[in-house]
């Protein structure tokens, strides 16, 4: 398993019930959503998710005529301590990597932040080099799931 994880990104038209349809497709195919972020513009929305099985998620959405793609992102573990996200961000900026977007999710005792950058592998190196931990795919896809 790689050190970057795959995010399922979905293009959503702004129309009634569309988000519901997407979630229903994933639910009925046993694809669990670990984390999500929904960005909206005047015309359309962008749904970004970490799911239990990104390839399956994309395939079932495609079968239902929904455009989705997989994107490499980094899931950073952020300890619940004031200033820890700031410190991580500072290291990334120092390393001259550009962050496109970011969203957070709770994760047991920790918080996590999903980062989309222009160089995910480098971000992982920077973070690990400065004492931060990142989720491996196998862990991220099942996080918060009680087995």
């Amino acid at each position: 398993m790689g050190i970057t994880i795959q995010q399922l990104s979905v293009f959503l038209e702004n129309r009634e019930g569309r988000l519901d349809e997407v979630l229903a497709v994933l639910a009925s195919n046993d694809v669990n959503i670990v984390a999500l972020s929904l960005a909206d513009t005047s015309d359309y929305g962008m749904l970004r998710m970490i799911v239990s099985d990104p390839n399956k998620g994309r395939a079932v959405l495609k079968e239902n005529g929904i455009t989705a793609m997989l994107t490499d992102v980094v899931a950073l573990r952020v300890p619940h301590a004031t200033g820890s996200l700031s410190k991580a961000m500072h290291q990334i900026v120092e390393g001259e990597v550009n962050i496109e977007y970011m969203y957070a999710f709770a994760n047991g005792d920790d918080a996590s932040a999903v980062l989309k950058t222009d160089d995910p592998a480098r971000v992982v190196d920077i973070l690990r080099g400065s004492g931060f931990d990142v989720w491996e795919a196998a862990e991220a896809y099942v996080s918060n799931v009680k087995i």
Binding site: F11, L12, E13, Y44, M46, G65, I66, T67, M69
Partner: protein
Amino acid sequence: MAAVTLENWVERIRDPKIECMSADEMAALQSKRLVDVVNRVYNNVDFYHKKMKDLGVEPGDIKGIEDINKLPFTTKEDLRDNYPFGLLAIPKKDVVRVQGTSGTTGKLTLASYSQKDVDVWGECVARCLTMAGLTEEDIIHVCYGYGLFTGGMGLDYGAKALGATAIPMSAGNTKRQMMCMEDFGATAFACTPSYALHLAESLEEAGVVDRLKLKAGIHGAEPWTVEMRKKIESILNINCFDIYGLCEISGPGVAQDCIHHAGLHINVDYFYPEVLNPATHEACADGETGELVFTTLAKEAMPLLRYRTKDLTSIDHSMCACGRTTPRISKFTGRTDDMKVIRGVNVFPTQVETALLSIGGAVAPHYLMIVDREDNLDVLTVMVEVDESMFSDEIRKLDALKNKISGVLKQALGVSARVKLVEPKTIQRSEGKAVRVIDKRNL
């Protein structure tokens, strides 16, 4: 799969005597037929008898094809006023078939055919199929609708006249179309260009293109661009041809382009074309755009004099590289009906199609134009499908794409357009004629 390049193309001409006839001989044939048809409508159709009387024209005044401009025009409204059988020039019992077109407003337009009319129609389509390189060996998958719409029956009659095998699929059910196309080994298919593209994309997606035996596509019934033809040709690795016709005149087979794609050869021994300035009704010179007007020279059941098609085109009488002498009309820029005047600028849907295809692969040519009026100002919105190849998880990139499309449209149309990105396959695919424009202004 076998597209043929121009240098390897073997031109076949079904009726060289007619299709390669000298201008003088053709004029003599057309003159003889025009005199005959004018006599028939004057004596048998009240509508034309009255129209000619009103203009002070007697059948004797029409001595040859050069006198055609003395004759009255016929419009779609005239057909509606005489719906359904008011323009018959033969006894009703001799009508063997009717075909129609669904007008977007009001009643449909109905055309009647005698047995000879049906035979001529089939012959004209057979000439077109031959022009597309097809012979009696070929298997033609017809996915135009069968019914009142002339597409399905027209291609069927043409395949029959040619002696080829017709597969009467009719429109719809893309999955079944794909299965039959593969199983029966179709070597050609016929449908509207928008459906052809949809089918081509579906075949590509299913990964079956390599298993097909297709070599030609025959597409018409709606205006389409050269870029769209090339797109269908490249997906399926075939040669595509633009067939033209209208039910009032006969149906598909009135004209079609040859492998040189230098305009559509008209079957002028049966359909006499004029290209006229829509305002002054003066004849346009070769190369000048005007409204296409047809006179049916041999039709028995419902002959029409100078029928105004509302299709805009130009004509070229020079000899074509394929060897045919029949004049060619340019690919259609649109119909006078489809043209929208947006903030004083004439806009045709085909211009939008060309602009979208010019962006190069990233944008599917499936679009819908919506014209509306906000605060007394015309607003054009173009809905464009975001397919997988152009999708990004970054809003910044999607916005950049939107702006790029907007810029290209503004340059191509001369008016600014709002671009709205929509999900793939949400713009309706037509199985008949594609709806490209919705005008919400109540003009």
